[in-house]
Point group: C2
Chain length 495, copies 2
């Protein structure tokens, strides 16, 4: 203690004194395994010898990082918006220039450096509304119901923030799928909401069964007030695409049980499997007639980060609210205004996504070529993923119908499970850590997404599943195993 | 009620059932007066006749919206980052190309469309650290202590989120100045933290007195646990610049009272008044010796939105944490990872701000010319603001030493106050609404920032204070008054 008498206090902000909700937050996609991967990359750069020369990051759907190319038209327009003097440059096509002018005119002072309206630039909200109407076969969409956001994550957190209230057994309960994308569990922990798990059926290609929703809901009613049902379609991390019937069943369930529906539809253009098709919750809701379409409260999220764009760094996105109470909408608008506005470059990019080059415009042919190429590559990888992974004894992988991930189950040897437990690690975390240390492959363990007790999985971004990857996978981390198809897998044996 | 038995439930999400903390949030800078201003703009476009032809928005520090020009170098580099094919274009100076290449190399896959590390791109955090060291005369700064953010607002909310805990009388109390920037009161309402008001001394040019801090702290200890002290320097909305002595006093106070210091220093380069100088809290802290510099926990915020850049739309910013508990830092890193990453274009812009063209580089001369011009314009407007406003009877305005606003006190006639009360409006809101409806000037009433009871103010962005503005102000909204200097002010009389 000093003469001032304050040094004995120690820190103001410590693990003990900090917000306990934040402490409970977990986010596996960027968790300990990714931090270790970054360290290993540093060690490699510093010349440390490893059994591999680079870390393969299959932990996150970061398209451009893995070599996916941006769409030329998008980037040209963004360059002109950044530096409008380029509008005088003859090397840019007319449609690129027109589009840049149109966006700049919608910005205060003609600059993307100005704040926009907190809900997003009006012109862009209009374009989003028209885009949704085209997608949904003409079902009307009002730009007043569109809120632009910094990626979908921002919108999801904003809606959860509005929805969570009450104390003790009347605290808001939010139903999320297991496996889930961990933004949901993290957001619910931060808000001290009650997480209600409903399980997807791995045996039926990760499909959703309303019986399971009902089971979860009824169990939860004993200790909280369930008010929200979150759906991810196409699924992350599970890659399933919901049938129209399933969506209708979910909507009926939400209506009957008075649940607010949150539909995470950021992978709506990432559908690969034959016979699968994306159906928006909004469209199905409106096709079910006024009894539902005038009643069920729904919010749907979309983003510029996935699909053929893959522009994660721009943090572009939007949400559409349907049947939101007008007074609550005022509150929502107020809430988003505190953060001033979503990044304007992300808004501009979103405008291009919802309003791409038209057939009579000079950039159209290149745009279509680039988009088709990227989508074809993604579809090919989706197919390859399931084919290759299922060749590996001990690994079992559902078809990747959509989105960008596979979530195979892995059989871990009892000795591996025992050693993991000794170390206080989840067995699949232990497995993924070994794979990282020995082979330089960075996957996210299934425990970060949730899984049925006693089962183990990992999530891998599908584009990583090239031959060299599968070779590494089959040689690690618990020693090779001879099988019919050659020198194979980690997983069957341990020591 | 229908046969399904659910329609009688009504909405899930209503004013009654929503998060009560969100309901308590207020954000005057984009509040009802601004919404009305947007409506009026629409009415004008639709041909509705008004006593004015355009709305002058003096509600927000939105530089480019008011005609401030972006820095050419910044926008050129950003254009090249967006569309790297321009690197082959001979029309761009070499330093622009080099800088774009350097940023792109630091992005995964060489694309600003990739996610960055959640804490921000390492190269840029390094550049920020070097910038802070130069600013603070060589006091060391570690890039590990730098977190990039989506504007300063994002960083401020993140830190408050970490800091708030406890229930009832042990709930975290956060000291904020009155007047304050309403992000703070909004953030505290959202987090259900206890807001502790300390008043700035209007009679002494809005200076901060430690005696007042102590009064506020002691009063607050009866009902909460005060743990955080927020300072805005230069002041928003009050425009004062703190003396070095004052900062030292504040740091001593924080040390004695065991408070975590949050220093909002986004206007650090907006200092105009002779004899005034910006002193960073970090520098003063380290000059006070190890007894303080090794103990006091501090976070400082900065942004690309103000100063000569004014690039609000890019949502660029950073915070530096000093003496943060290492375990808490792990938690902070985890928390920011849930939102994936700050917008990468904002990060790139920040890099250019902290690492501008050097004297031997081709873009240097233009950069200096543009920057000097903007800063000179801002300084001129600061001077003009106080000169002109103080000519108006009933308005009294402190010198604008820094930042971008004036916060004059206004004397409202008793009849105006009475009419406001009848309408259930704060009297200065009533005044500002009248000014908007009759003259098309959009100001934010002092009640949105906080003020001593019985006093009334408005905040005006200073660049708006041109001659035509003051003419409008003096002719409204309660009828002109003859004074020595001509036909003048609203404020002395009512009806």
């Amino acid at each position: 203690m000093t003469e001032n008498g304050f040094l004995h206090h120690g820190k103001v902000l410590t693990l003990d004194s900090m917000n306990p909700n934040v402490k409970r937050v977990e986010y596996a996609v960027r968790g300990p395994i990714v931090q270790r991967a970054v360290q290993i990359e540093k060690e490699l750069r510093e010349g440390v010898k490893k059994p591999f020369t680079e870390v393969i990051k299959a932990n996150i759907g970061d398209c451009h990082a893995m070599g996916q190319k941006p769409i030329t038209f998008f980037r040209q327009v963004l360059a002109l918006c950044s530096y409008p003097e380029l509008l005088e440059d003859n090397k840019f096509p007319e449609d690129v220039k027109n589009r840049a002018r149109r966006i700049l005119q919608a910005c205060a002072g003609g600059s993307i450096g100005s704040y926009s309206a907190s809900q997003g630039i009006e012109l862009i909200r209009n374009d989003v509304a028209r885009y949704i109407e085209r997608r949904d076969g003409g079902i009307p969409c009002s730009p007043d119901n569109i809120y632009l956001s910094a990626g979908a994550s921002d919108g999801i957190m904003t809606m959860l923030k509005l929805l969570v209230s009450g104390e003790g057994s009347s605290r808001t309960g939010v139903m999320i799928s297991i496996p889930q994308y961990p933004l949901y569990s993290a957001g619910l922990a931060e808000l001290a909401a009650v997480q209600i798990n409903y399980y997807l059926d791995e045996a039926k290609c990760w499909s959703l069964d309303v019986k399971e929703l009902r089971r979860a809901l009824e169990a939860a009613r004993k200790h909280c007030r369930p008010r929200v049902l979150c759906i991810i379609n196409p699924g992350n991390p599970t890659g399933q695409v919901q049938s129209r019937q399933c969506i209708e069943d979910v909507i009926k369930f939400a209506a009957e049980e008075n649940l607010f529906l949150m539909a995470d539809e950021v992978y709506q253009d990432n559908v690969y499997a034959e016979g699968c098709q994306f159906h928006s919750f909004k469209k199905v809701l409106f096709e079910m007639g006024p009894e539902y379409s005038e009643k069920v409260e729904l919010v749907s999220f979309h983003s510029t980060s996935k699909c053929y764009m893959g522009e994660c760094g721009f943090r572009g996105g939007y949400m559409e609210v349907v049947n939101l109470d007008p007074e609550v909408k005022v509150q929502l608008t107020k809430l988003v205004s505190v953060r001033l506005c979503p990044p304007v470059t992300g808004q501009a990019l979103l405008d291009l996504v919802v309003n791409p080059p038209q057939p009579d415009e000079p950039s159209y042919a290149t745009f279509i070529k680039e988009r088709s190429h990227t989508l074809a590559m993604l579809a090919e990888k989706a197919k390859m993923t399931q084919d290759i992974l299922n060749q590996v004894p001990g690994i079992s992988c559902n078809p990747v119908q959509g989105a960008m991930y596979s979530f195979p189950s892995i059989q871990l040897p009892p000795k591996a499970i025992a050693e993991a437990k000794e170390k206080g690690q989840a067995p699949d975390m232990f497995y993924c850590m070994k794979l990282l240390e020995e082979k330089g492959i960075c996957l996210v363990p299934g425990s970060g997404f949730g899984q049925r007790d006693g089962t183990f999985h990992f999530r891998s971004v599908m584009w990583i599943l090239k031959v060299f990857f599968i070779k590494k996978l089959t040689a690690a981390p618990f020693g090779p195993v001879k099988t019919d198809s050659g020198s194979f897998v980690p997983i069957g044996r341990f020591h």
